[in-house]
């Protein structure tokens, strides 16, 4: 098997990484951005390696990002989605994992609605590196590495900067991963939501908690808007209506101006325009949203490389 880089056997969560490991992954991603802008977008780094994208949850964007990342590095990439997967026929998650691992891929990229799926499978799949592409409301490490790369390129060092994350914190793996990353990397996180959308004891992450969006704007360097799952959240009484949500927690130009000229806007996508973010904000010069998508490919190239791109031990 190829030797992993940066001491990484798997990529489960941001919270498992050291500052050095995060920095190395981000820097490696930075190096890969070049390949993505060439006319021939191909590199031989992962030639002969096999990557399986095993997606139990729909996510075209993340799956495509991993697929392109693998292919640009010359890996053989296989996509398996939940609708066609064996689990529909009654096979257990473990059986699916073991069956795929028996075909000897180098990396399994897994998205699953159950938190801890990668940790669980790793106990049984010894020779396969696992990348968590989002597990329940737990972690989404490659998204956060992507964000860190995007921030590095747009504002340089983010140490001491303040990121304000707005919306459904309770169900967000992105928010959770950022709160963990902030501690490791030395930036501040504010979270803004009504109490109905906050998980219990969220302040233990060391973040500042606001219910009033306008009060949180001052001193914010990065406004990070989360996707609102409109039907699910209103029928469960997390908030009364889309309209009141947008009034109270939506990002519009007025709020963006109140945050100040330096403030940049992020979103993990896909956006609900007019709900958590107004269209003019999403499309403004302050928006880093498309950069996030672009850098997502580079960061996933870095993650795949870190796990199976090193020299092969013969």
């Amino acid at each position: 098997m190829p030797k992993p880089l940066f001491g990484l056997k798997h990529l489960f969560g941001i919270g498992d990484l050291s500052r050095e490991q995060i920095t190395s992954l981000v820097n490696l991603g930075d190096d890969f951005i070049d390949i993505n802008s060439r006319s021939i977008k191909k590199d031989a780094t992962l030639r002969g390696r096999t990557v399986i994208n095993l997606f139990f949850e729909n996510s075209t964007r993340t799956r495509t990002s991993f697929e392109i990342a693998g292919k640009r590095l010359s890996a053989d990439v296989i996509n398996i989605s939940a609708s066609t997967s064996a689990t529909k026929k009654g096979e257990s998650l473990l059986d699916t994992g073991q069956t795929l691992a028996a075909m000897q891929p180098h990396v399994l990229v897994i998205r699953h609605s159950v938190a801890g799926t990668c940790e669980f499978l790793s106990e049984f799949l010894e020779d396969t590196a696992l990348i968590n592409a989002g597990d329940g409301s737990h972690e989404h490490p490659t998204q956060i590495l992507t964000d860190l790369l995007t921030l590095k390129r747009s504002m340089g060092d983010i140490q001491g900067k303040t990121m304000t994350i707005v919306g459904d914190i309770a169900h967000s793996r992105v928010a959770r991963s950022h709160m963990l990353a902030a501690k490791i990397m030395g930036y501040n996180v504010r979270i803004v939501a009504p109490k109905t959308l906050l998980p219990a004891f969220v302040e233990n992450y060391g973040c500042e908690v606001f219910h009033d969006f306008d009060a949180a704007l001052k001193g914010t360097d990065i406004l990070y808007m989360l996707r609102v799952q409109t039907e699910r959240l209103t029928t469960n009484c997390y908030f009364p209506s889309i309209r009141e949500y947008h009034e109270t927690y939506g990002l519009n130009m007025k709020r963006l101006k109140a945050a100040g000229d330096h403030c940049m806007v992020m979103h993990p996508g896909p956006m609900n325009r007019g709900v958590e973010i107004a269209t003019d904000v999403a499309d403004s010069m302050k928006s880093l949203i498309l950069e996030q998508v672009e850098h997502g490919v580079a960061v996933r190239m870095a993650a795949l490389t870190a796990l199976c791109g090193g020299a092969t031990e013969e």
Partner: protein, 428 residues
């Protein structure tokens, strides 16, 4: 020259800790001063032997407009209020349509302004159409003038929805008022469950219906760090729970209705539907517990739960009669019994109908501070009169006090420095 001078009265203004015989003078609709007045006035009210206090606030009132105007409308309700010395009413949202939308909040406020007798401060619904399943737009309702949120008439029965309501409201500091009744326990009941219900042979509502809902809500309030208010508290167990929650530092408050500290379940022994309400009149032990709660401050507010009904809805046998009694015109005399019985000094009693509800709901009313709107109640605490339900200003005739002697009568009510009620007459 000042507009109105009220002289020689015992002025009681709990918010400013005033209790002395002195003058109150009014200019341009506002309180211009409390103390010794020198000068001329266009109009003088001699309040010798009377008590002068801020216009009373009743934070629990059901007017039936929009939707059931034959029971009560904003005009008849406003008249009943000022006849009772009340200048601010907070109205419950169980109208038809219910107050779950900003448009209706604005509509009822505008209607009350047009009538011009008293302030109407609506309480918005917690859930849409009072169904208990979807939250209302509390921010929007609040911005339009709603001062608190309640599904009163019904409980917010679903524990998960109540949790979300407390969390959402507490994110913005709003007060949730709960009609605490576990319907699975009280379904089909008409009166308190006990010896009285047994003798009558009608189904009772066990006290646990109230107590268990409050217990549940207190736990949810603790988790949400919310502001929770028990409407019309009626049982010993409920008062004890609120007291304990307050000792633990929770933002739990409550109110008592005059009937719950003045009457017991014995009132219904003659099948009197005019003493049927929810929660029901309970035992003497419960009544004394409510009085103790008022005395020690656990219960900060007296509110009427004024619930007018049409004759037809009351004259159909105890079991099928509607729940509720009118209260606006009897709040003051019934409550004055607490002072006469030595339970509360006059200033503390008045506070429970002025400064305390104002503080709880962040209302500008409830005090005689200089510059405040001159909303004033002037009453004779000792004057006796016979309550004749046919003479009530309210359209509702459903009162258990019909034919009884009341002690304490409102002589004048002023709203924005205008005399709107004077010696039994409404002045428009």
């Amino acid at each position: 020259m000042t507009d109105i001078l009220i002289t020689n009265g015992r002025v009681i203004d709990p918010a400013n800790q005033v209790d002395e015989v002195c003058d109150v003078w009014i200019e341009s609709g506002k309180v211009a001063g409390v103390g010794k007045f020198d000068g001329a006035a266009k109009k003088t009210i001699d309040a010798k032997g009377l008590i002068v206090c801020p216009g009373l606030i009743d934070m629990h009132v059901h007017l039936r407009e929009p939707g059931e105007e034959w029971k009560e409308d904003i005009e008849s309700g406003s008249q009943a209020a000022v006849a009772g010395g009340i200048t601010t009413i907070c109205t419950m949202p169980n109208t038809e349509p219910c107050i779950d939308h900003a448009g209706i909040v604005l509509q009822v406020i505008a209607r009350a302004k047009e009538i011009g007798l008293c302030n109407l401060r609506p309480i918005g619904a917690v859930t849409r159409n009072l169904k208990g399943t979807e939250l209302t737009e509390m921010r929007e309702l609040s911005r339009s003038g709603a001062v608190a949120f309640s599904d009163d008439g019904k409980p917010v029965w679903h524990a998960g929805v109540m949790r979300k309501a407390l969390e959402y409201s507490s994110s913005f500091g709003y007060l949730i008022i709960q009609h605490a009744e576990e319907k699975q326990l009280t379904e089909g009941g008409s009166v308190n469950e006990g010896w009285v219900s047994t003798q009558l042979g009608v189904q009772g509502m066990p006290v646990e219906g109230e107590d268990s809902m409050i217990a549940r809500d207190i736990m949810l309030t603790r988790r949400a760090d919310a502001r929770y208010h028990v409407a019309h508290i009626s049982s010993k167990g409920a008062v004890e729970q609120v007291r304990l929650a307050q000792k633990q530092g929770l933002k739990v408050t409550t109110e008592a209705a005059p009937h719950h500290f003045a009457l017991t379940e014995d009132e219904v022994l003659n099948f009197n539907a005019d003493a049927k309400m929810s929660p029901p009149l309970r035992t003497e032990e419960d009544r004394l517990a409510v009085i103790e709660g008022l005395r020690d401050g656990t219960i900060e507010v007296i509110a009427t739960d004024h619930a007018p009904h049409h004759e037809d809805d009351k004259r159909c046998g105890l079991s099928c009669a509607a729940f509720g009694i009118v209260g606006l015109e009897t709040m003051l005399p019934v409550s004055l019994d607490l002072e006469r019985a030595g339970v509360l000094p006059m200033v503390d009693l008045i506070a429970k109908m002025t400064a305390n509800p104002a503080k709880l709901l962040n209302l500008p009313e409830g005090s005689l501070s200089q510059g405040n709107a001159a909303d004033i109640c002037i009453f004779d605490p000792n004057k006796q009169w016979m309550l004749d339900r046919e003479k009530l200003r309210s359209k509702g005739r459903n009162t258990p006090w019909h034919g009884r002697t009341m002690t304490g009568q409102v002589e004048y009510t002023l709203k924005d420095g205008r005399v709107v009620f004077e010696k039994g007459e409404i002045r428009v």
